[in-house]
């Protein structure tokens, strides 16, 4: 079963993310993780098709983010939250955990997606491993994804 059709701007955002290797999440206004692309799947160790949509509690408990002391970051501090609440891009660095338990330090930029019909319908979060070698592997698609 599926829900109602997504707003066009989210459909197009998903199509765009499908077509690029830069890791990215697509998140609904309520924080639900709607989609992530192959680049993001490479980093977190699971393809989206294995996981599907997740509400915010589920995906933050699986992947993080965490601070340098391994403490969960307050939701309010996430670039995603700031982008949705303030309606402007936001950027930060923090730790995430992949499916195999390995932690990665990433830089994440979130931007709100605002359609013509209503306010922000969601946000796109683009991120990179801070480690340059790992970033290169992920964005060139040479990173192994667990199946």
């Amino acid at each position: 079963m599926s829900g109602p059709q997504k707003p066009l701007e989210l459909i197009l955002a998903r199509n765009l993310l499908t077509s690029v290797t830069t890791p990215a999440f697509l998140v609904a206004r309520d924080g639900t993780l709607l989609f992530y692309n192959e680049g993001a799947g490479a980093l977190i160790g699971r393809p989206f098709e294995d996981i599907g949509q997740l509400d915010i509690d589920e995906w933050t408990s699986r992947f993080g983010p965490f601070d340098d002391d391994d403490e969960p970051l307050p939701f309010d501090r996430l670039p995603l939250t700031r982008a949705l609440r303030e309606g402007r891009p936001a950027h930060d660095e923090f730790m995430v955990r992949s499916a195999d338990g390995i932690k990665h330090r990433i830089a994440a930029s979130a931007m709100p997606i605002v359609g013509t019909a209503s306010g922000a319908s969601g946000a796109m979060v683009i991120f990179w491993p801070v480690d340059e070698n790992q970033a290169r592997e992920v964005t060139t698609g040479r990173h192994e994804v667990a199946s």
Partner: protein
């Protein structure tokens, strides 16, 4: 609901003896509702001849524009009711944060492109952003939603009693998307076209032509039919013919589409192709037993 096609061509008018059967006028479709009211879908060059066929005492004319590309508005300036003081014309179209619908259309109906300005038209004309929620015109309930094309573009779902027509003349739902396997909530236009008795849909290209035109906002045969199949359209009318496609080419395209639809498990009679002056009667069919709309040309 009665449907009459006044222009089925896309991009630019394509007159010529080799185009006579399908016609060279650009997008314009006339709907006659069960209440007798007329709805006009798009104002391509086909609206000029439609205008001559309308009774001069028609109380009100409603025009639903999908978008403002020239092949969908070019006929407005030559629409005879625009030049009659007694005409009451309401034009609906996509909103834009940039400018009002009237201001955007006035870029065309103004110097140096036009000898008249919108304010000089003698008719009573008003411009309206298509509402974000359903609205009523006569017997019809109308829903407009943004769909995948270049620039702000709407598709329309028009319901009259138990009959539903969907009009999406410019649409590329397969751009960057696996239409066959994608969950329906991620398919552009799905809500508009679901279970439509008649789907009038973009089919500008053959599959062989499409790679050179990917991202231009139009669909090849396979994407059109996959979309029609996913939404459960009971009949599909191929529309927005490429200006290079002659009558014989479109005959072949139609045959290919019917074969493709049959391969998808459908009845080839459900796939029609729009021709100028064609008239269709669309009647609601139960969802459980898809069947074709009746066509009389």
């Amino acid at each position: 609901m009665k449907v009459r096609v006044w222009g089925a061509r896309g991009s630019v008018p394509a007159p010529g003896p080799e185009m006579n059967r399908y016609g060279g006028n650009t997008s314009c479709v006339e709907l006659t509702l069960s209440s007798g009211e007329t709805l006009i879908l798009d104002a391509g060059t086909g609206i000029r001849t439609l205008g001559f066929s309308l009774p001069p005492d028609l109380e009100r004319i409603n025009i639903l524009l999908t978008h403002l590309h020239l092949d969908h508005i070019q006929g407005l300036m030559f629409f005879p009711p625009c030049f009659r003081a007694e005409s009451n014309i309401r034009i609906f179209g996509p909103s834009s944060p940039e400018a009002s619908l009237e201001a955007r259309i006035a870029r065309y109906i103004s110097a140096p492109l036009s000898p008249v300005e919108v304010r000089e038209l003698p008719c009573d004309v008003s411009f309206h952003d298509a509402p974000a929620t359903e609205w009523q015109i006569g017997a019809a309930t109308i829903r407009a939603e943004a769909i995948t094309h270049r620039g702000p573009t709407l598709g329309y779902r028009i319901t009259d009693g138990d009959t539903c027509l969907c009009y999406i003349p410019d649409h590329e739902p397969g751009l960057g998307a696996d239409l066959e396997n994608l969950n329906e909530e991620w398919i552009s236009g799905y809500n508009l076209a679901r279970d439509a008795d008649l789907l009038i849909h973009d089919c500008q290209y053959t599959d062989e032509e499409y790679p050179g035109h990917e991202g231009w906002g139009h669909s090849p045969i396979t994407a059109t039919l996959t979309f029609a199949s996913r939404v459960g359209a009971k009949r599909t009318l191929l529309f927005h013919h490429d200006p290079l496609h002659t009558d014989s080419f479109l005959d072949d395209l139609h045959r290919s589409a019917r074969r493709c639809w049959e391969d998808l498990g459908g009845n080839p009679e459900q796939i029609g192709i729009a021709a100028e002056r064609a008239e269709l009667t669309v009647e609601g069919q139960p969802s459980a037993a898809p069947a074709q709309a009746r066509i009389a040309v």
